[in-house]
């Protein structure tokens, strides 16, 4: 049997220590509890922080268990369940916005389409449920990457496909955009997956607080990105995603 990975073992020890304390612990205190140098402990905590497994009190700098960790074991959300719960809100978003709606869940650097509502103009369209989309070039994908910093960092390890001349393939630029996405709560793309097609998406949170999916609209750039429409469409997408989040809490 191959040996264990030391850093994972140490991270687990840290998490157990915080859990046993029943509250918050400082770096020095933690380093002492797990018998590691303070710098090593700090490095581990920063990684755990970035994946949402611990949280840091901005006032005291002390650490507690993160919402991401709590959401992990307690609630596995079935993709078909997610579709069923999202269906009414996705329909309503399509009817109000006039654009096609997709609900995606993460699959590494790709997105699985778990629900697809046609653009309500009765034009010929094909069901895309089950299709995989590249995360870096789609709005739903960016939302999902933004919620998974560890996955997002692996973007620097692989060459990003330039699907159109507008696809963002510079990892640093993409990471900056993901950070902006996290901060404002929605993502967009303009002709980055297919030329002429734009998208807007927002996160859907599961009961544990983790982002479990991304709900978004897509359509012709000139319609979706029209100065008069853009703000209203973003608000619609964010509100619809929030409605699905609320639905999942019930």
């Amino acid at each position: 049997m191959p040996g264990t990975v030391q850093s994972i073992e140490r991270a687990a020890t840290l998490l157990h220590a915080i859990a046993q304390s029943g509250g918050q612990m400082g770096v020095t205190e933690l380093a002492g509890a797990v018998d590691l140098p303070k710098t090593t402990t700090h490095g581990l905590l920063r990684t755990l922080l970035s994946v949402g497994f611990v949280e840091q009190d901005p006032r005291t700098g002390r650490y507690s268990l993160g919402a991401g960790l709590l959401g992990l074991g307690t609630h596995y959300l079935d993709a078909n369940e997610l579709r069923s719960r999202a269906s009414n809100w996705a329909d309503s978003l399509a009817a109000r916005s006039g654009f096609a709606v997709r609900l995606g869940t993460p699959a590494g650097l790709q997105v699985v389409v778990v629900h697809h509502v046609f653009r309500p103009d009765d034009s010929p369209q094909e069901m895309e449920v089950g299709a995989l989309l590249p995360a870096h070039a789609t709005a739903v994908g960016k939302v999902l990457l933004a919620s998974r910093p560890a996955v997002a960092r692996s973007l620097t390890d692989v060459p990003l496909d330039a699907l159109t001349p507008r696809t963002v393939v510079d990892p640093a630029a993409l990471l900056a955009e993901l950070q902006a996405t996290r901060a404002r709560g929605w993502a967009e793309q303009r002709g980055e997956y297919r030329l002429g097609v734009a998208g807007i998406a927002a996160p859907v949170h599961g009961p544990g607080g983790l982002v479990v999916g991304a709900l978004g609209i897509s359509g012709p750039v000139e319609e979706l990105d029209a100065p008069g429409a853009r703000g209203e469409l973003r608000a619609m997408v964010v509100a619809a995603a929030a409605s699905v989040t609320r639905e999942l809490l019930t």
Binding site: S84, D91, H115, V117, F118
Partner: protein, 502 residues
């Protein structure tokens, strides 16, 4: 132009919902309240009509408040209701003499068997277009008249009133004991076994056959047309229309042309096909029913295939077997395998409705081998809905001879992609889902809105209909399912034979 809204009340089996729609047919407010299910004895299912009336007032008031529309912006009320559920109440007090007998209630079984043995029983099918079955309202009314002391003489004197749920609600909405209007819509009346389906009037011979006094019955009115003013609401509204829920869904799906069909996939499933103004009599186990009638226009008919158990089979997998945690997870479990492994489930929990009408058939799982896993069972459960749809569609093709257009679907099970693709493959026809899934309420709103001029004609309603999803048959799968269909038919025969065991 100032937006105008229509309020729809969907009085269903488990809850009462009040929904407000705008002129685009978009949903703008929803309020819902469940009511208690009473099971006083095995096979008996009752609702308290007064609780349902209270829930109607409450949810309607809430939904009207939610829209926060200006005065006069909500212009009409439409009603869709659970069909065949029967209420009998006192004209003077508005008090029900018994709880409502719900459409799922099987207490009239022995009564119907006695009636079916009479030499003149063929009259029923001939006049009503329906099967003589306990599923319809007439036998329930007869049961109440037999069971409640002095009910028959009081009914004959006009002291008791009877009706399906929309009659009860309209009577209360329009004033109740203080001048309430006692009417029923023609789609609901067509489900009683008491109405001549060609003349759309109560039939004296049928009333005699079932022993129901004419004095207690409501006046039959068109589905679209003002029935009265709902003065009991915070804002009095004209009641512009009423339809049985499945007919309302047909209307909401805008199936206005002969051949257009919809299937609502819920606990049970109901496939209705518009057959136009000519009554088509089924020779293949469907029922002929009224689809809708606009005031001053001829009645439109439909062929109906009623399937008792579809979504309820998935609930059984969840609640009785515990194989899944939630209904949508059935798709996840079914996708762990690529086919049914030779397994078939016939969900004849309380007999089979269309196209078999075998009240004594009982459910079975056929084709078990040690190879079959829970994944195969989940697949067989979903396929049972697809196969039953095929049974009904095949009968419909044989009866109507109308060219089949895409099947319009709605209801909770339509978010199940595996099932919807299976249906498309099993019936070799495209399956389409509309943008507004709430087709029952939408149909009631459309009926009421047409009556007061929110929409000019049915063409305007058609323009509101948009596809949200479509499943196209895959030729290879169509061939494979054609080859498997005889196995399903065999399993159905076995479930019927089981019910006939000595």
């Amino acid at each position: 132009m100032r937006e105008r809204y229509v309020l729809a009340v969907d009085q269903g089996t488990t809850s009462t919902r009040s929904i407000v729609f705008d002129r685009g047919g978009r949903l703008v407010a929803v309020r819902q309240r469940e009511h208690r299910q009473h099971f006083p004895r095995p096979g008996w299912v009752e609702h308290d009509p007064e609780e349902i009336w209270a829930n109607t007032q409450l949810t309607a008031a809430q939904a009207l408040r939610d829209v926060a529309a200006g005065p006069g912006q909500v212009v009409a009320l439409g009603i869709a209701n659970q069909r065949e559920t029967t209420v009998v109440w006192e004209r003077a007090t508005g008090r029900p003499v018994v709880n409502a007998l719900v459409w799922q209630d099987t207490r009239t079984g022995p009564l119907v068997e006695r009636l079916a043995a009479r030499p003149d029983a063929a009259l029923v099918r001939e006049r009503t277009g329906l099967e003589l079955a306990g599923y319809f309202a007439g036998p329930r009314l007869r049961w109440v008249l037999d069971a409640v002391p002095r009910a028959r003489e009081r009914a004959e004197r006009g002291e008791l009133l009877a009706g399906t749920m929309e009659s009860w609600l309209v009577w209360n909405l329009t004033g109740g004991a203080d001048g309430g209007v006692h009417v029923t819509d023609v789609t609901n009346a067509s489900r009683t076994l008491l109405m001549d389906v060609r003349t759309c009037e109560w039939d004296a011979d049928l009333l005699d056959f079932f022993g129901v006094p004419a004095a207690m019955l409501p006046e039959i009115r068109p589905s679209v047309g003002v029935l009265g003013t709902a003065s009991a609401l915070p804002v009095p509204l004209p009641i512009g229309g009423a339809l049985g829920d499945q007919q309302a869904a047909l209307f909401g799906q805008t199936c206005f042309a002969p051949g257009e069909a919809k299937c609502t996939y819920g606990t049970g499933s109901f496939l209705l096909q518009n057959t136009g103004t000519e009554l088509v009599r089924s020779r293949h186990g469907l029922i002929s029913t009224v689809a809708y009638q606009l005031a001053g226009e001829p009645v439109h008919y439909a062929l109906e295939g009623s399937i008792a158990v579809t979504g309820a089979l998935v609930q059984w997998l969840r609640d009785s077997l515990g194989l899944i945690g939630s209904a949508p997870e059935v798709e996840t479990l079914a996708r762990t395998v690529s086919d049914n492994g030779g397994c078939y489930v016939v969900p004849a929990f309380s007999g089979l409705l269309a196209p078999h009408w075998e009240g004594r058939a009982r459910g079975l799982v056929a084709g078990l081998t040690s190879y079959v896993t829970k994944g195969h069972l989940a697949r067989a459960v979903l396929e049972a809905t697809g196969w039953q749809t095929r049974d009904v569609v095949r009968a419909m093709d044989a009866d109507s001879g109308l060219p089949r257009t895409a099947l319009r679907v709605d209801g909770g099970m339509t978010t199940n992609n595996l099932l919807m693709q299976f249906v498309a493959d099993a019936i070799d026809c495209s399956v389409v889902r509309p943008m507004v899934g709430e087709t029952v309420s939408l149909g009631a709103a459309y009926a009421a809105g047409l009556a007061v001029g929110v929409w000019s004609d049915t063409g305007a309603l058609r323009r509101n209909w948009h596809r949200s999803a479509q499943w196209v048959p895959d030729p290879a799968r169509v061939t494979a399912l054609d080859a498997a269909y005889p196995d399903w038919e065999h399993a159905v025969r076995l479930s019927i034979a089981w019910g006939e065991r000595p």
